[in-house]
Symmetry: C2
Subunit: 466 residues, 2 copies
Amino acid sequence: MSASTLLDDLRAVLGSDAVLTDPDLLRGHERDEADLCVAGTPLAVTRPRSTEEVAAVVRAAGRHGVPVVPQGARTGLAGAANAVDGAVVLSTVAMDAILEIDPVSRIAVVQPGVVNAALGAAVARHGLWYPPDPGSWESSTIGGNAATNAGGMCCVKYGVTSEYVLGLEVVLASGEVLRTGRRTAKGVAGYDLTRLFVGSEGTLGVITEVTVALRPAPAESLTLVAVFGSTAAAGEAVARIAAQGLSPSLLELLDRTHLAAIEAYQPMGLRDDAEALLLAAVDTGPRAAADLAEVAAVCEAAGAEEVYAATDAVEAAALLRARRLAHPAMERYAAEAYPGGNGGLIIDDVAVPRGALAALLDGVARIAAECEVPIGVVGHAGDGNMHPNIVVDRADPASLERGRRAFDEIMRLGLELGGTCTGEHGVGLLKREWLAREIGPVGVRVHQAIKAALDPAGLLNPGKVL
Amino acid sequence: MSASTLLDDLRAVLGSDAVLTDPDLLRGHERDEADLCVAGTPLAVTRPRSTEEVAAVVRAAGRHGVPVVPQGARTGLAGAANAVDGAVVLSTVAMDAILEIDPVSRIAVVQPGVVNAALGAAVARHGLWYPPDPGSWESSTIGGNAATNAGGMCCVKYGVTSEYVLGLEVVLASGEVLRTGRRTAKGVAGYDLTRLFVGSEGTLGVITEVTVALRPAPAESLTLVAVFGSTAAAGEAVARIAAQGLSPSLLELLDRTHLAAIEAYQPMGLRDDAEALLLAAVDTGPRAAADLAEVAAVCEAAGAEEVYAATDAVEAAALLRARRLAHPAMERYAAEAYPGGNGGLIIDDVAVPRGALAALLDGVARIAAECEVPIGVVGHAGDGNMHPNIVVDRADPASLERGRRAFDEIMRLGLELGGTCTGEHGVGLLKREWLAREIGPVGVRVHQAIKAALDPAGLLNPGKVL
């Protein structure tokens, strides 16, 4: 059957307004925000409005043997949402209804296109909280968050997306609709299919509904910054905070490169002469002041040159805003680091056991020197999850090559330290080889067996993860 | 090949002392503690001492086409550890080493035969805590806890076993050794195979090593009991506690039948004239007294006749001990309820959204009346996870039939209320039909496809779950 027949089929089930083929629009849906990843031009972008329409898209594509690439807001950083040539992009943006909020059972049921921030605002009206807060929270969707098992800053205390997904509705490669999980606080009925689909990056099915657990809104938090003369000392402070049994609700690290980039991007009054800055918060209510003092004492004992507690919520919010600027500031810094604005960032993502954080930070500095590329480090220190950001000249193949080598060396170091090749950004296209190294040949075979069992024709988001 | 050849193969790899064929011992390994489940007589009980020996057992059994039934302490309540005729029982009790405790990364690595209480004691020496506390915690193994995704009393605040399992080593049906997961706080590398194996009841592989997350030891808890004139009022109190955003570290319900059974078994001074008793604890440190007062106020507003706070840790421990006696006390009560000690219990396990708890409790009372069987209810009210315990006369087929009917009616009601057929005991043999109803035909097909992908010959714990 010809491609036009597939378009006809898609228009027949969705209507023409939900089957888009405008070349500019297709180009705009080729890729997410990842670097170093290939992307193709899709045949069409579809915007189904219901589970039935998603199933119809998957069945139609299946009949024609055409791949389906699910997309949310395309804010991912691993290429998991990148299109392949001739594929049908299945965008969930039109499925953006919050179907239910139940304050007693503390759950919400949402369509996949609901934006993370919109869910947060809706449940806040019930005094509730949906914790996962990826950097993209203002634009990324719950469906995409679930498909990639997104992390964020509050995960150090409150956990990642998968800990909040109780159940899913998923359209399988066959077009059948599977319901997984439950609405209850506990449940052990059968294999944990919910967790199998969360983080599977659209390779096993298309998520069409998500049931999430909510928490009571946390107490107001108290915040401090600690300034260090070396990143390794900051890493040591993080290890000691964990070893003392303190549970900060936020524990972020910014290195000198990021501090300078942020100050250049938007002056925030950060100590940009410091080698590293830890940003810590506690939200333990009446115990918060004592807990913050303990965190401060641990930082000082680990060699902090200065520890400064925010005097009020306004100042604390400013510190958090500075941290949230790290990514755009570093993008600007990278662009301006080379002539013609050709500088760019390779954004990496690695997690190690908390006790190995100082060794990771030391190692990244060594790799930057060896590969002769600037690398800034920022991230979720309390989880051992760091983002080394490698600055390259996109116009210079030798610079790109050095950047790629640094990227690989960081991955190798992370695994050597007992870590994982991705703490929260996912595998997508970017980390496939490193996933294979991390999980080994038996792990790869098990992944392939599960993929083949659920998507025998290999049409769901092909080439991702595996 | 003959069965003796398989025994020869097993003895060749394990030595004769780890391949047991004594008929009494075989009989002792036929079943776990579940009712209503069939069990067969195994060919042999093997006690491998290492991952390599487990793999050798699985490979030898595979060559002979003989099923392998993994067993821990056989304290399960769904028949998931029950042998089938001629099978090789693979007992993990000889693999009982705690391999590592890392206080900075807050993880422990253990062999599957480590007893839950032994792990708890070992990590307590580092000021750490392994929360999951199934009723069997003094005898059940971490491998069994992981294979069944065991729950317990602290789950209401701290979550079930799966939330603490970071990684696994698993021997697959092929005899290959798979490593899943990670040692890091975060990680999204590939499909969540760890969660797929946790709770899969030995049907997808044999767990040979478990990496668990630990928490800092919690603050001392404060405890209260609230006495209610109806179970539904107690259920209403639970819903209000959740709706107010309170996070008790324990929230258990005992009904009149259980209170009377406990007082008869060992007088604890409980109000055995009450219709229901809630036992609640908070462990929020300096906020604990205020939080406990809030729980008390909510109970009173929901109609509690009396609320009594434990005056000290000794009294609190006595209340917890009384709760822990519920199971043996109810066994005794059931035995004595019929002539000749022929009375027995059908222990059920159902979970509903917290908001539906009162409706569940009302419904169970109605079912008891309709089916003309005594049913006592006890359980983890804060999770909506209850254990209706059905009292039957084992010598009377009509009584057994009425009990079985009540069991089915409770399952049906649980699903109608948006719940699950098992909150923590698992599917095993006991709940297979109800699992199929709960997950539907598409869910069953996905389960079967995954089982076939990982165990094509169907030799790992056959007949369980599916």
